[in-house]
Symmetry: C2
Amino acid sequence: MAEAGFEGLRLRQVAEDVGIDHSTLHHHFATKQDLIGAIAEYTTRQFWTTGPETSDPASALRGHLLALRRMVEDQPHLFAVTVELDLRARRDPAVATAMARHEAGWRSFLTGVLVDGTTRGVWDLPVDAEATTELVIAAVKGVRLAPEAAAQVFGQLEALLVGRAPDDTEGERL
Amino acid sequence: MAEAGFEGLRLRQVAEDVGIDHSTLHHHFATKQDLIGAIAEYTTRQFWTTGPETSDPASALRGHLLALRRMVEDQPHLFAVTVELDLRARRDPAVATAMARHEAGWRSFLTGVLVDGTTRGVWDLPVDAEATTELVIAAVKGVRLAPEAAAQVFGQLEALLVGRAPDDTEGERL
DNA sequence: TAGCCTCAACCAAGTGGTTGGTGGAGCTAG
DNA sequence: CTAGCTCCACCAACCACTTGGTTGAGGCTA
């Protein structure tokens, strides 16, 4: 998937990759649609990572960004598939709902953290919670296409929001 | 293209849309590759808009963001194709070079403006030129998938960088 | 026997691409 | 004017191949 994308997704190839006949594949997934639905389901589920509990909005946001950055760098293929899914969602209702569900959770988490920070006066910038949520989501979605720039993007985003100087070479502190 | 994407791009369909036989299409574009190359060429060329000349980095950046926002809102199909191209570029060298060329120009423009602003001390935030360039590019690329959030994303980005309160309902001032 | 899981063979519907040929616009020589 | 010629855009028919999906016939374990 991550290599060929949906455009190059062939049932025979998938079957061969897992070492079975392509007709056998139909035994597990009745139609190609079902396979794709399962892919969408599986992929979005991969993002269910429970970050460390933090009551501080700033470090919560920082931790979230760091976690995303790590994921982009360590599992670029996962994000590659996500891009395919985002595109596919435009024409495939099943994928669309899976992605919408996934994104709704993400969105509410981000907005929650940002609102929390605003009420506590953590940000020293004009931060609109919803707008910033969209900004972060857009930035992450965009960086999926260029994982090598992940460090820069996340670093700068963090600097702007949480007010820390961007440096890529910080240590292991979580 | 914007509707079906590359995955659904069929020469016969394209030919029918323009009212010719599919074999005639081969008369103009020898192979499907050639057609796709032409699409990439044409699409990237659409972004050659010469913005208003400004010596002020802040308003230059603001104008750039505004122009992009307008484009996203007015020609979402154009950006839809761009997403397809970005994805295609992963496996198609021809598309990759076209996109790389286009992106290089964009990148150098952004970095130029940001560096300019830094030397003049325009930004009152820790703005790393290259990193911020990547951030802006990532945000724009991400927002293509959700044009309805364009106003929020660009507004917030502008607020963070140029330091203006995010409001979507400003007037026609250019 | 029953219930899965597996496969080879097959099918209809496309797929990109090729071939041979048609008809009209434009040019030139008689 | 017109006969002869070359382009050019066009098409119907065709080809080799791939696609997702089906069928029926085993095999394996319980």
